[in-house]
């Protein structure tokens, strides 16, 4: 079974708050010193899901597409080290400053360019902006059935049984192929690459594709094609005030607490 996984490189979500800075004027996140960007954790799980599908079906390929700057290659290499077969890097100045829509557009073209596979997998959302829309937009653009926020995926002959995480439990559904899946963190940890695979991945060529290669005009993608407009980017500050409620006995303290909560109109 052939699978394509779309991955995104993001600033490390483990970046300590103290090192996280934004440039409010340029409305950009500044890279944290000494902390390299990483593959979005949900996307690493998507790669894991793809590899398990490939293993279960006994044949096929897992190919990786990523849209992003030079450094996005590392996210592709990481996926290759995990065991994916080929990597495609959508790299073009024209793609810069895009939104979910332009990204989905470029990705869907790239998928058509490579040939629509049996399964297309995304992370449930990129862990930086957390919009969680690209997968669904691609499904729409390619007119494919989709299931989102999955915790389990199982091959079932030609169809696929998935389990979605929903507000009050799980929802199990069957999908025909080809289809689009987005993977949630409940799926389980992605594998740690073996050193040999890391070395092989380092030597492997990643194919670069530009907007023109995909038949896209520069005005369709990137900032030019964006449908979302950013007005401001800032780090919210929060003030915490602590009031210690005094009292000699636990009862007094409890009474004090009730009063304080009443005053604050919480009770």
């Amino acid at each position: 079974m052939d699978v394509i996984v779309c991955v995104k490189q993001i600033p490390d979500p483990e970046t300590p708050a103290a090192a996280f800075k934004v440039d409010e004027a340029a409305m950009q996140v500044l890279p944290a010193q000494g902390i390299s960007p990483v593959i979005s954790p949900f996307d690493a799980q998507a790669v894991e899901a793809a590899l398990r599908i490939k293993d279960a079906s006994g044949d096929g390929t897992v190919n990786i597409i990523s849209l992003g700057p030079d450094s996005a290659r590392d996210a592709i290499k990481h996926s290759l080290a995990m065991g994916a077969d080929e990597g495609y890097h959508l790299k073009d100045e024209a793609f810069e400053g895009g939104d979910a829509w332009t990204t989905a557009l470029a990705l869907s073209r790239a998928i058509q360019h490579l040939g629509v596979p049996d399964v297309l997998i995304f992370g449930r959302q990129a862990a930086d902006w957390d919009q969680g829309t690209v997968g669904s937009i691609v499904a729409e653009l390619l007119d494919l059935p989709s299931a989102t926020v999955l915790r389990a995926v199982e091959l079932n002959g030609e169809s696929i049984t998935v389990s979605r995480v929903v507000a009050d439990g799980f929802e199990n559904i069957d999908l025909p192929t080809p289809c689009v899946l987005t993977i949630s963190n409940e799926f389980g940890d992605p594998r740690y690459p073996q050193l040999r695979q890391i070395m092989q991945a380092a030597r492997k060529q990643v194919t670069e594709l530009t907007a023109a290669d995909l038949g896209l005009d520069a005005s369709d993608v990137g900032a030019a094609g964006s449908r979302v407009q950013m007005h401001a980017l800032f780090q919210p500050t929060s003030d915490v005030e602590v009031e210690i409620i005094e009292g000699d006995t636990p009862e007094e303290k409890a009474a004090g607490l009730v009063n304080a909560l009443r005053e604050a109109k919480i009770l």
Partner: protein, 742 residues
């Protein structure tokens, strides 16, 4: 009786002449002659009896059969050892085994002290004495027998008169010493066997055999005295006290019957001796030869140093997953193990009831090497593929040796330090970890998380809220930036930068250095991990990448220079820089903060004269400072100079110190097992009654703090054991100016 007469008469039965009961090996190697001579002369001169002597083959016909058997015995031993050596040779040759001996004097010293002198065996009083008894008895009995034979075959008579009687006494007493040794060994196994080393058939065969030899020796001697000495020259027989007693026990037996029994026992004794000695090639008795060899072969570099995988990108395998991935020395070593259990008795993981026993690692690998190794040798001989027919074998790593055992190791070196036969467990364990991580990518989640954080963020502290410079917030102006001009670079290290408690130590060290006007600087914001955690966790590749990056930074900033010294307050950084970075091209000097602080106190640049509260302190040795790098005294001497401080020791200290539990990457792992190592160690510290525990390692501090949390759960905060870095205590005593009292 003249020499020739003895020779010509030996085939005849004699009742008048003398003989010996103990001929453990009448066919001796004359090489022991010098020592035998000394033994002989000693004391014997005081004896006034003249003419006393005995005969080599008293009462024995066909003694030549023994000489016929001898080449077979030697052949059988050699065959056994050569056969084993084919398994050893499956491994990779090391420089040493190619004949490039480094530090020959050190090796020879070890060979003599540790091999011949059994220095390490003696550390344990009971088994030390036991082993000494058996060993000296065997050597002496071998020598006296050899001497008797030599005396017999050379034209001069040495063993006559007083010299002979002194000789008899020595021989007799050492026979007794041997019996005492064997009895102690039996008691050790029978009466108080530790679960770690339940005795096996091999133990009983060796001990039983030896006991049998000693007892039959005395029987033969007693019968000789009974039949030939006691009635003729009774005063001679007092010089063989044990033999004399045995002779008395036979006093009711008729001489002719006694002579028959003598002959029978003589043969049992001699054939038994020759059979027993063949165990040298087939059992752990081989340690007679292999242990000294291993003492010689053991590496002479710092014990905490791991070998680098050179040209890692071109390797066919990473670490060890197959027998033949080990070095020859590593496989050889397995056969040297005598199953004494000392490594396991000293292993923090085992003490805490966790799934690791270094003795079993070695023993299980040995059994594997026996079964699978010999099959592999056979495959090679038959021109088959090395692994032919071995597909269904339990895998060595993950099967014979369980993953959790490998992960439980702290690389603390207590086992290596304890092993009387100089086995090096740590490199063997880390080599298998390397294959788990790099070959199979199979590891606990916590290890994976740590490695990922190292890869991405350049430090192992996943989830830390801090940046590399957080520790200097508010005192930036007091922390000089490294310019390349200063004498010392203070390498803060990841723990010193990212962990709250350790940040306090970092600030103390800075404060002390400012107080003493040390010319130092810090590379702000740019440091990265030196790679130690990755290396100890088995990810050699990641270690090399991190180390290369840091050395590049050191090159760019002028740190990598023979004239510059790097200060670390983390023993792990210290060990890596000092012992492992030279392999990566490092030239700078390295000093641990306790060494520097001691120097500053001695020079009078730090004066610990401020009153600190009166307290008793117990010092916990960090493995990577103490056992691995021999720094035991510097921190203690600092503490001794602080007024009001009384230093007390835990029972396990210095070379025998117990790890806090953090080493070998366990700082970042979930512990499995009955209890946690840090709790065991905290209990030991609490038991001393000390007010505080001092250490010089940021990991140890954290381990102690968390151990106290559970061990002293019910103790009032004020009464809990306090944990301090040596620098913090010194700061309290020596830094008066609170301006840089940070």
């Amino acid at each position: 009786m003249t020499k020739s007469a003895v020779k010509s008469d030996t085939a005849k039965r004699k009742t008048s002449a003398t003989s010996t009961g103990k001929r453990v090996s009448a066919l001796a190697i004359p090489a022991w002659l010098p020592l035998g001579g000394i033994l002989l002369v000693s004391g014997a001169e005081t004896v006034r009896v003249t003419g006393a002597h005995r005969e080599l083959f008293f009462n024995i016909d066909h003694f030549w059969v023994l000489y016929m058997l001898l080449p077979f015995v030697i052949g059988i031993i050699i065959y056994g050892l050569v056969r084993r050596s084919r398994v050893w040779r499956l491994g990779k040759p090391t420089a040493l085994l190619k004949g490039n001996f480094d530090n020959l004097p050190v090796r020879l010293g070890r060979l003599i002290k540790g091999g011949g002198g059994t220095e390490r065996v003696l550390r344990d009083p009971y088994s030390g004495v036991m082993h000494l008894c058996i060993m000296t008895s065997m050597i002496v009995l071998f020598l006296v027998t050899a001497l008797l034979a030599i005396d017999d075959y050379i034209p001069v008579d040495i063993l006559v008169g007083p010299r002979y009687l002194g000789y008899s006494l020595v021989a007799d007493l050492f026979g007794l010493v041997g019996i005492i040794g064997v009895a102690m060994a039996v008691a050790h196994r029978w009466v108080r066997p530790r679960t770690a080393w339940l005795p096996t058939w091999e133990d009983w065969l060796i001990l039983g055999g030896l006991g049998m030899l000693l007892v039959t020796g005395f029987i033969v001697e007693g019968l000789r005295i009974h039949t030939s000495e006691i009635n003729v020259n009774p005063e001679w027989s007092y010089w063989s006290p044990v033999g004399y007693i045995v002779a008395l026990m036979f006093s009711g037996v008729k001489i002719s019957a006694a002579l028959d029994i003598h002959t029978t026992f003589w043969w049992i004794h001699m054939v038994g001796a020759l059979s027993w000695i063949t165990l040298l090639g087939y059992s752990k008795l081989n340690h007679l030869v292999l242990a000294p060899a291993n003492a010689f072969l053991k590496r002479t570099s710092a014990p905490g140093k791991l070998d680098m995988i050179v040209n890692i990108e071109e390797q066919e395998h990473f670490g060890v997953s197959q027998l033949e991935h080990f070095t020859m020395k590593q496989i050889f070593e397995l056969d040297v193990c005598v199953r004494c259990g000392r490594c396991t008795d000293n292993c923090p993981a085992d003490i805490a009831g966790q799934p690791l026993s270094p003795m079993h690692i070695i023993q299980d690998l040995k059994s594997y090497a026996t079964a699978v190794g010999e099959q592999k040798v056979a495959n090679l001989v038959q021109g088959n593929d090395l692994n032919f027919g071995l597909d269904d074998e339990t895998p060595m790593v993950g099967g014979v040796i369980r993953d959790e055992s490998l992960w439980a190791c702290r690389t603390c070196g207590a086992c290596v330090e304890a092993c009387p036969v100089f086995i090096e467990h740590v490199p063997t364990i880390v080599d298998m970890r390397r294959s788990l991580v790099m070959e199979e990518a199979r590891m606990p989640d916590t290890v994976q998380g740590t490695l990922e954080t190292l890869e991405r963020q350049g430090h192992p502290w996943r989830g830390t809220p801090y940046t590399r410079d957080s520790w200097m917030e508010g005192i930036e102006d007091q922390v000089p930036e490294w310019t390349g001009e200063q004498d010392y670079l203070y390498f803060v290290g990841c723990t010193g930068a990212f962990v709250d408690r350790a940040q306090e130590i970092t600030r103390s060290v800075v404060s002390l250095m400012r107080e003493a006007d040390v010319s130092f600087g810090v590379i702000k914001g740019m440091e990265s991990c030196n790679g130690d955690p990755a290396r100890r966790l088995g990810h050699e590749y990641l270690y090399q990448i991190l180390a290369e990056g840091l050395i590049e930074l050191f090159n760019e900033t002028g740190v990598n220079d023979e004239q510059k010294t790097v200060i670390t307050h983390c023993p792990h950084c210290f060990n890596t820089f000092l012992n492992e970075y030279p392999d990566m091209g490092a030239k700078f000097q390295v000093i641990h903060h306790t060494q520097l602080l001691e120097q500053l106190v001695n020079e009078g640049r730090l004066v610990p004269n401020a009153e600190v509260p009166e307290q008793t302190i117990t010092y916990h040795d960090s493995c990577y400072l103490g056992r691995h790098n021999d720094i035991f005294e510097a921190p203690r001497r600092i503490l001794e100079q602080v007024p009001n401080v009384t230093l007390i020791e835990m029972p396990r200290n210095r070379e025998q110190g117990l790890c806090c539990g953090a080493g070998g990457g366990n700082m970042w792992m979930e512990e499995q097992g009955k209890s946690r190592v840090n709790e065991v160690r905290v209990e030991e510290a609490v038991a001393t009654g000390a007010d505080s525990a001092c250490t010089a390692c940021p990991f140890c501090i954290q381990m102690f703090d968390s151990g106290i949390g559970t061990v002293q759960l019910d103790v009032e905060d004020d009464d809990k054991l306090k944990v301090l870095d040596v620098a913090e205590l010194l700061q309290a005593a020596a830094v008066s100016d609170r301006q840089h009292g940070v």
